[in-house]
Symmetry: C2
Subunit: 431 residues, 2 copies
């Protein structure tokens, strides 16, 4: 919808048709956990509805599935009619990974997920009809964590199962702190637990762990164990995909097919520094690339800026933030700093902990993870440090705001930069 | 104390003596409003006391006033003895401007200020002994605003008098919003009101306004109408000062006198882009330059990074943030954006408002003012945008974190950048 709106603004005379396989448009996916928890009402999820778009001259066809692209004839077949296009923008998004693997019927009672507004309506209805005592969340990525928080807010006893040793690919210290944070709220996180079998009839869940097997009894199962790019439409038309399996586009949003653009979670974004593209399925990526596609498809000229995967999630009293792309961290040295421990009277100041990833060879700053009362500002600042290719040591020269109720005199990045300098056999001890 | 500590760390064999005219060291000036409000205890104001420094091998002499520097003989006279030095670091700070002008005796009951821990002790004692009904705060810079907030927290009725048309040099819309914010807490801000006379006996305050005169009756008067650099010691020794009246140093912290360094609120910091130095009397500036002086004086080699005047203040439910130096804004176009208005269920998201200052000629980003629930992150990010010499339009490519409870999909800087692009006759309308 960002692409369609942008295209219409750039060329008001353009005839724009949106085909949507489902019934919802602009479904505000990021807001779903907060619709589930009751913090957001359903009407606030969709900034604009079908009529708003129609009024702007954008024709929307819900329940119409695009089936085949004929790029040479500029023709698009759909479940309704066949369309001719000058420019085509494909935004087929992603699909859930786990539900399929476990063989669960997404329509069955007790099988929950957080992909659409309808998914949340179903969960809320089931909770109202037969309040569940215990729910299993499967997947400890940030969506799984958000889902567990939301269910906990509703007073439901939650156990989260995660395949890997750390939720959300966190470094060990942050992972441990996150597990404790959840435990204090009564949410148990089972790590290294690969869910193998769910029996809906009996409510039995069986997970494989390094120690063997673990079993649990649950009233419902929320699956959030990752997504994969939904690329069938474009791949069948011959569009190139990248190593991640997502469709490749250049910085103008163009696929390898003439006059076909792509955006959304099905797409890899180009790496402005060269090298392979990156699959960064976030709302911010989708919105920014969507605007670029819309503008260019309508005759404008715009390029996508760098994507660093900036991400923040609220989890109970803390916020989890990440930036940088984990595939870049393999050869990095993590530098950890803590601030605002016990006794700090101002809750926004701490306690907090962050890790900066430093390229061992060049000293370049490559990414950050943080768990603190407020992380958005840290994430955004770190994102610009990445964009500007600073070294970790250069980050000690950031000029940051200080006032006792809000921040510390020495910014966490300053502390990390000093630590990096010191341990590299640089100058001296941290003051 | 930052300089002394750093010097000792760099050269543990150095003999370091600190002369302090008063009785307090490392007085935690920024924390004083929160000691006043009762949010901080006195013991948390001084991170380290005299004994801590002595233990590190730093000799501290309180109540010893440095009186004359003889730079050619490397000799320093003081109220006690005369010292010979290899390197001298001067950090004489600033002095209050207003108290003197109004001829008030700072020791008199009902005459308050927020410069030292002793000042706050005096206020707290007077409040306890004879709780004041009405207090006038004179000066609407950020210290005056913090003081008014602190007194309001204590249940005291406060009127703030400010000489200029806007508190803290804010742009008109922000100034108006700030005045309303204070008014909702019962604090009246009288703008364009230059306090001319205070009669302690009767409690009468007379201020000149464009409409003539305004009078009020108060039980106490807290003066916070600005500071000026305290440079007597260095100036008398022949050190150069800049247009601001503060002492000039280079990026190594060196004054024009051989072997004499200077830091703190009495000093202008160099402008790394060339041009005149800037007087930016903030704790962050002082701490960073202090470390540079300490390191260099002890034989190290370090340069001060750029200072952009990043600043944040908590004011009731909002935070006020600023970055960039107002003298640079004269020829700038302010670009204003608002976000998260009524109906947003997440309080950290809004409502907020910020102004970005854009150089009319070059499009360069020159500074920001913001009033929002959380501003530190915005200020720090804006500070790095200044450092990297971005244009306002380039700020639309920042990759920022988004999650509904914490932030908006489109970052405020994105909205401002789009607005700048559009109004410059650039591309198209804001999506």
């Amino acid at each position: 919808m960002a692409a369609a709106t942008r295209a219409k603004r750039v060329d008001p005379s353009a005839r724009i048709t949106v085909l949507e396989a489902g019934r919802e448009i602009g479904r505000g996916t990021c807001s779903l956990p907060y619709f589930l928890s009751g913090e957001l009402e359903e009407k606030s999820l969709q900034a604009r509805d079908l009529n708003d778009f129609e009024r702007e001259g954008i024709e929307v066809r819900p329940a119409t599935r695009a089936t085949v692209i004929h790029p040479y004839q500029r023709k698009l077949e759909s479940s309704a009619e066949t369309f001719h296009y000058d420019r085509l923008i494909v935004s087929t998004g992603s699909r859930a990974r786990c539900t399929r693997n476990l063989g669960l019927d997404p329509e069955a009672p007790g099988v929950w997920r957080l992909r659409t507004i309808a998914d949340v309506r179903k969960i809320k209805q089931e909770i109202q009809q037969r309040p569940p005592r215990r729910v299993a969340v499967i997947g400890g990525g940030y969506v799984g964590l958000e889902a567990a928080e939301a269910l906990c807010h509703l007073g439901i006893k939650v156990t989260l199962f995660h395949r890997d040793a750390a939720p959300a690919r966190l470094a060990p210290t942050l992972a441990e702190e996150l597990v404790q944070l959840f435990l204090r709220q009564g949410v148990e996180i089972q790590l290294n637990s690969d869910v193998e079998k769910i029996d809906l009839e009996s409510g039995l869940l069986v997970a494989r762990t390094p120690q063997g097997e673990t079993r649990g009894q649950f009233d419902a199962f929320l699956t959030a164990s990752g997504i994969e790019p939904e690329t069938t439409l474009l791949k069948e038309a011959g569009a190139s995909t990248g190593p991640s399996g997502a469709v490749k586009v250049n910085s103008r949003g163009e696929t390898s097919l003439g006059n076909v653009y792509a955006c959304g979670d099905g797409v890899e974004v180009p790496n402005p520094r060269g090298g392979v593209g990156r699959w960064v399925p976030l709302a911010t990526t989708a919105a920014r690339l969507g605007r670029v596609c819309g503008e260019n498809a309508a005759g404008g000229s715009r390029r996508l800026g760098a994507i660093h995967g900036a991400l923040a999630v609220r989890l109970f009293s803390k916020e989890l933030g990440m930036v940088g792309l984990p595939q870049d961290w393999a050869d990095c040295r993590p530098i950890e700093v803590e601030w605002g421990g016990k006794g700090y009277p101002f809750p926004s100041r701490g306690p907090g902990r962050c890790l900066l990833f430093e390229d061992r060879r060049t000293g370049r700053f490559m990414g950050m993870q943080a768990l603190a009362p407020q992380v958005s500002g840290l994430v955004d600042l770190a994102s610009l440090c990445l964009e500007q290719e600073l070294t970790v040591q250069e980050m000690q020269d950031l000029d940051c705001a200080y006032t006792p109720p809000l921040s510390a005199l020495w910014h966490p990045f300053y502390l990390a930069a000093r630590k990096a300098e010191k341990s590299i056999g640089g100058r001296h001890e941290l003051y």
